[in-house]
């Protein structure tokens, strides 16, 4: 149980929850506001991580320039997906997005020369060359830690991720309250009605994808900075569904529900790692890893049964037709 009381461990859990918050904010815009069923969200996170790392390692860019360009690349990828597939009906769109995210992952796995292949970013510059995209970020993090007299690097990262996550949450919450956000909600409710009132539904869906994918790209940056190494396996479809779980857990259509959902998810997901009491001790650690997923599944089922609107959602919005 000692790890459960270690600050370092919980700082790590907090960092991951922060990254998930940013990732899930993108889904909140796309699904919570515009009603787009995107099951390939993780692809845009991958585009963000890889674009940044490749530009730094292969093209020698400053990370501070590569990072915004990477976010832009994620956003553009979202628009391209939309242009190709938004004319499909909602359920077909959902299927195509899963396929897209797998295509991105397979390309990253197989295009060794571009991405380092299945070995990940360690192989980015080729087998003999050192490939480090993270130096500038580490120096910034050290400086930040010094400046604030923080006890550890992990706490510095925790503060940085959550500063970004909260600013972005506020941004999403504010944008939802604008006339722009109102049009998105109208599209979620009834596309044809929105069309009949003069709203260009296609253009708004593209904008939602552009915004949502940019957020996924930002999540990708923090993910890359936190781990200093990543590989295609990090962007498996499971991550998209973690984001969906957080969205449902927190509440669909509420920006501030996202950080709450991400924290609850993070604590459950990490906490279940240390179920070192019966009945969990009946199983070995590998089996326990699967039990964690089951526990999370049960929590989600319980939530759907007893609080289908999520922790912060409005029930009336769910029961009314």
């Amino acid at each position: 149980m000692s790890v459960l009381t270690s600050g370092e461990f919980w700082a790590f859990v907090g960092v991951v929850a922060g990254v998930y918050t940013i990732l899930t904010l993108g889904l909140q815009i796309e699904f919570g506001y515009a009603g787009l069923l995107n099951f390939g969200h993780v692809a845009f996170m991958a585009v963000g991580s890889y674009t940044m790392a490749i530009l730094v390692v292969k093209s020698g860019w400053s990370m501070w320039l590569a990072a915004p360009v990477a976010v832009l690349a994620s956003s553009v990828a979202g628009v391209l997906l939309g242009l190709a597939t938004l004319r499909l009906r909602a359920d077909y769109f959902a299927i195509v997005t899963i396929a897209l995210s797998e295509i991105v992952r397979y390309v990253a796995t197989n295009e060794d020369r571009l991405t380092g292949g299945s070995q990940g970013t360690i192989n980015l510059a080729g087998a003999e060359e050192a490939s480090d995209y993270n130096g500038q970020w580490q120096r910034f993090q050290d400086w930040f830690q010094e400046a604030l007299h923080l006890g550890s690097k992990d706490v510095a990262m925790l503060l940085l991720v959550w500063a970004a996550a909260l600013v972005l949450t506020a941004l999403v919450a504010l944008s939802a309250r604008t006339p722009w956000g109102r049009v998105l909600r109208a599209i979620r409710e009834d596309e044809d009605a929105a069309r009949s009132l003069g709203k260009n539904v296609f253009a708004y869906k593209l904008q939602a994808l552009a915004f949502g994918s940019a957020l996924a790209g930002i999540a990708g940056l923090f993910y890359a900075w936190q781990f200093a190494f990543f590989s295609p396996a990090d962007f498996a479809p499971l991550l998209t569904f973690f984001a969906w779980m957080i969205l449902i857990l927190g509440g669909v259509g509420r920006a501030w529900a996202v950080p709450v959902g991400a924290l609850v998810f993070g604590v459950i997901f990490a906490g279940t790692r240390f179920f070192e009491f019966a009945p969990f001790t009946w199983f070995d650690s590998a089996e326990r890893a699967y039990l964690r997923l089951m526990v999370i599944g049960l929590v989600l089922i319980g939530l759907i049964l007893f609080r289908p609107q999520g922790l912060l959602g409005r029930r009336e919005e769910l029961v009314l037709e």
Binding site: P179, R182, V183, A186, R188, D192, R195, S196, G198, L320
Partner: protein
Amino acid sequence: MSALLEVHDVVRSFGGVRAVDGASLDVEAGSITSLIGPNGAGKSTLFNIVSGFLRAEAGTVTFEGRRIDRLPPHRIAQAGLVRTFQTARALARMTVLDNVVLAAPRQPGERLLRNVVGAGATRRREREVRLRAQELLALVRLDGHADELAATLSGGQRKLLDFARALMTEPRLVLLDEPMAGVSPVLRGELLEHVVSLREHHGVTVLLVEHDLEVVMGVSDRVVVMSDGAVIAAGPPDGVRSDARVVDAYLGVEA
């Protein structure tokens, strides 16, 4: 003088069935025109073509002298031709007020960045639009429900909401798709009054689709009758009622 809306020789088929087969009609500015016909006559298809929700295979649709038959629905709405739906399309999880406010044209804040750059204009327009929406809600006597979710409204109230929303777009022509369908007799009278007041007080031209001739007799200046995808008669209500072809079409289907 040319009419406000001109539909000329429009054709549309669905898998071999010609739902609309060379239909033509005019709607004069300032009139209330009713498009009637038995079920399956092609009224709704024609209606969807005029409002841009369906493409015509042949023929032209002209609104205020401008071709609109290749325009998407939102552009047609922006041009001043707004439609309602047979079953009212309330945006259920938005407030009644937001349903109406949404429909306002010229809100710069519908571009995301205009809420940051030039936010003043967005706020000013929002104030204007909210006042106007309150007025329209008062007109259809839904002002007491402004802050409730539209999902809480009854079917009849949703029709009224649709109506207020359509007016909010500042239209010159309103297409009403069976506004009386599924509405209680009491509310029918109220809706008909609103239709008449559209022209009287708002200077809006009305084209309404209805399958029951009697419902629209009293309010229509002109009745256009469709059967089997084509227009078979058009004229003042009394003349149309006694037209042998119209009697045939109705009896022929119902017999």
